[in-house]
């Protein structure tokens, strides 16, 4: 039981990081970025290409994250501009449709250029024992990195001036502008952060299992569910939701069975949304 829950937490931390990238962009731009999973996959392919050319893994991972961040910023500076000029539901819908188109373009190009592309980062070393349960070294490292990043993000948004500036834009764009914070600059920086996180998720996930070109759709769906269950715009909420859903997923996979698990997971998400439409930690 303990092993099952630990595995669930490892899985859930990955989910959580994925949700954070999506939730931030939604909170700021009002855009549900449906190309998010594809940006992660793009990062993964860049990492694997750089590694194939003989670069050390760490360098390759850095390049991949930067590439994903750059792609995300490009999206913000070009296609998202007309979206920001809209308000309310028009904005949401246009953002949804445009990023959907972007997702098709990215997955189409990647499939064409690297039809068998995949990223798998092998982490050597013996299983590490945590609370008496032996865990694969790759998973442990991935979780540690994720936890570290989560900590940095929480401190950043909770304590630093810039982090508070970002939260102020989430809460009230006009108010933020009045006190001298530029919403469009903040937005661009958050798109960069979100893209970088997508690249990081690609790297950490590939440390326990290969990440293929076709993984984008699943990544986007998971990010979406985690972000909504956690409360759109809430960083801590996304992590909490990720970990909870990860545990639900693993426990049910272990005791009930594979296909039912997906249904249990989805039902858990649906029930959370219905009971608390603002999400676990949403305002």
């Amino acid at each position: 039981m303990k092993a099952v829950i630990l595995d669930g937490i490892v899985l859930g931390l990955g989910f959580g990081l994925l949700g954070v990238g999506l939730t931030l962009v939604y909170g700021l731009g009002g855009v549900l970025n449906l190309a998010y999973g594809e940006i992660a996959v793009f990062g993964a392919i860049v990492v694997s290409q750089v590694m194939d050319r003989g670069a050390p893994t760490l360098v390759a991972a850095g390049v991949g994250m930067l590439a994903a961040a750059a792609l995300s910023v490009l999206l913000d500076l070009t296609l998202m501009r007309p979206v920001y000029r809209q308000t309310g539901e028009e904005r949401t819908l246009l953002g949804l449709l445009l990023t959907l188109g972007v997702a098709f373009v990215i997955v189409g190009l990647l499939n064409w250029k690297y039809p068998t592309g995949a990223l798998y980062i092998f982490v050597g070393g013996d299983p590490i024992s945590i609370a008496g349960v032996p865990m694969a070294a790759g998973s442990v490292w991935a979780s540690l990195i994720t936890l570290g990043v989560a900590g940095v993000l929480l401190v950043f948004f909770g304590l630093t001036t810039f982090g508070r500036g970002v939260r102020s834009v989430i809460q009230d764009e006009t108010g933020a502008r009045l006190v001298g914070i530029s919403p469009s600059l903040v937005r661009t920086l958050i798109f960069a952060l979100s893209g970088g996180l997508a690249g990081l998720v690609a790297v950490t996930r590939s440390m326990s299992a290969p990440l293929t070109v076709t993984a984008g759709f699943d990544l986007t769906t998971f990010a979406l569910i985690v972000a909504v269950v956690g409360g759109l715009g809430s960083v801590a909420g996304a992590f909490l939701a990720g970990v909870l859903l990860g545990i639900v997923d693993n426990v049910s996979a272990h005791y009930i069975g594979e296909y039912i698990t997906a249904i249990v997971l989805l039902a858990a998400a649906a029930i959370t949304i219905l009971v608390r439409p603002r999400g676990l930690l949403g305002r």
Binding site: P82, L98, L100, G101, V102, V105, W112, I225, E258, P277
Partner: protein, 352 residues
């Protein structure tokens, strides 16, 4: 072109001809669309089974889109479960008529009813919890994914990923693509007439009111919850009926036939492209995507990328969809002609 005959001043006339004229005006767009659809096979693709197959698919998507247009375009409920609702219809039809050996019509009818019940339940939940567009979208998306997993999990009943061959399927329908084409032309026309009738009745008024401003509609005495559920039930029945008949015309179904990525994404794009809440938008959108499919047949791996680029382009330049844009252009030309005292700024609300 002289449009003056139609817009002649409505003087006091006897009731009979006026009703007839009203009916003609109401059904004219549908009749024109139907006439074009009917003459297409002999004039163009009837002798190519491949192209006819694509045309059948476009018609099926057109039918899905009419249902989705009723739910989303008319009452703002983002149902991201068109594929799943069609699957409820399709799998119910297939299993009921094969395993419970019901006649085809009964199977299709029960499939349609099941889809309507599921759609109604989803709308009821969304209304009760007063979910907004995005949350309705997420809950129905979750339902879609759960449905696919459920179908895959019930291997004995549904054949899971390998798919399900309908034993009772009319093989002549599956072989004779042109027959399938005409079947779906009939279905599409019937669905359009239902849509038009709703649009022109008091229900249509309620739909427009609640789409423009929900709170104002509620204050004006429109029972928003009831009309939402109503739209979801009727729209889901349309989708379920199409899904059931499609299963029959294919003779084979699998989770992919009704998958989220395969159905919902395309239907959303079709309706948004054609024009949300318009009568002919879904038909025009489906036709455009039929053409696109045909044009992209040979581009292999890059197909998806082209498709995405096309989606981006249309939403950057035609935000409200083709039909409202065309109506707007027409209005503008007409007002220019009339001496152009004013150019109407909001032509998008036209009910065509």
């Amino acid at each position: 072109m002289g449009g003056s005959a139609v817009s002649a001043a409505p003087g006091p006339r006897p009731r009979g001809p006026r009703l007839a004229r009203l009916l003609t005006r109401a059904l004219l767009p549908i009749a024109v669309a139907a006439a074009i659809l009917v003459v297409l096979p002999p004039l163009w693709f009837g002798d190519s089974p491949y192209t006819t197959g694509l045309a059948v698919e476009a018609l099926v998507f057109g039918c899905y889109a009419v249902g989705f247009n009723l739910i989303f375009g008319s009452t703002n409920q983002l149902f991201l479960c068109v594929g799943a609702l069609a699957g409820v219809g399709g799998y119910s039809t297939a299993i009921l008529s094969d395993k419970a050996s019901l006649p085809l019509a009964a199977g299709v009818a029960l499939g349609t009813v099941s889809a309507a019940i599921v759609g109604g339940l989803l709308a009821w939940i969304a209304v009760r919890r007063s979910l907004n567009v995005i949350f309705t979208g997420i809950v129905t998306l979750v339902f879609s994914l759960a449905f696919t997993n459920f179908i895959i999990g019930q291997r004995d009943l549904t054949g899971a990923d390998t798919g399900y061959v309908l034993q009772g399927a009319a093989t002549d329908l599956a072989d004779d693509r042109v027959g399938g084409y005409y079947l779906f032309v009939v279905v599409l026309v019937v669905l359009l007439i239902v849509f038009r009738a709703l649009q022109l009745s008091h229900v249509g008024w309620a739909f427009r009111a609640l789409r423009d401003d929900e709170v104002a509609a509620e204050l004006a005495g429109v029972d928003v919850a009831r009309y939402r559920i109503y739209a979801a039930v009727v729209g889901s029945a349309m989708i379920g009926l199409t899904g059931g008949l499609y299963a029959y015309s294919l003779g084979f179904i699998s989770p992919v036939t009704y998958g989220f990525a395969q159905v919902d994404v395309q239907v959303l794009i079709i309706v948004a492209f054609g024009g949300m809440g318009t009568l002919l938008g879904p038909v025009i959108g489906a036709a455009a995507f039929g053409f696109l499919d045909r044009a992209l047949t040979d581009s292999g791996q890059l197909r998806e990328a082209y498709y995405g680029a096309f989606v981006i382009a249309i939403f950057l330049f035609l935000r409200r969809g083709v039909v409202p844009a065309a109506v707007g252009l027409f209005d503008r030309l007409a007002s220019l002609r009339r001496g152009a005292q004013r150019v109407d700024g909001a032509p998008g609300r036209a009910e065509r």
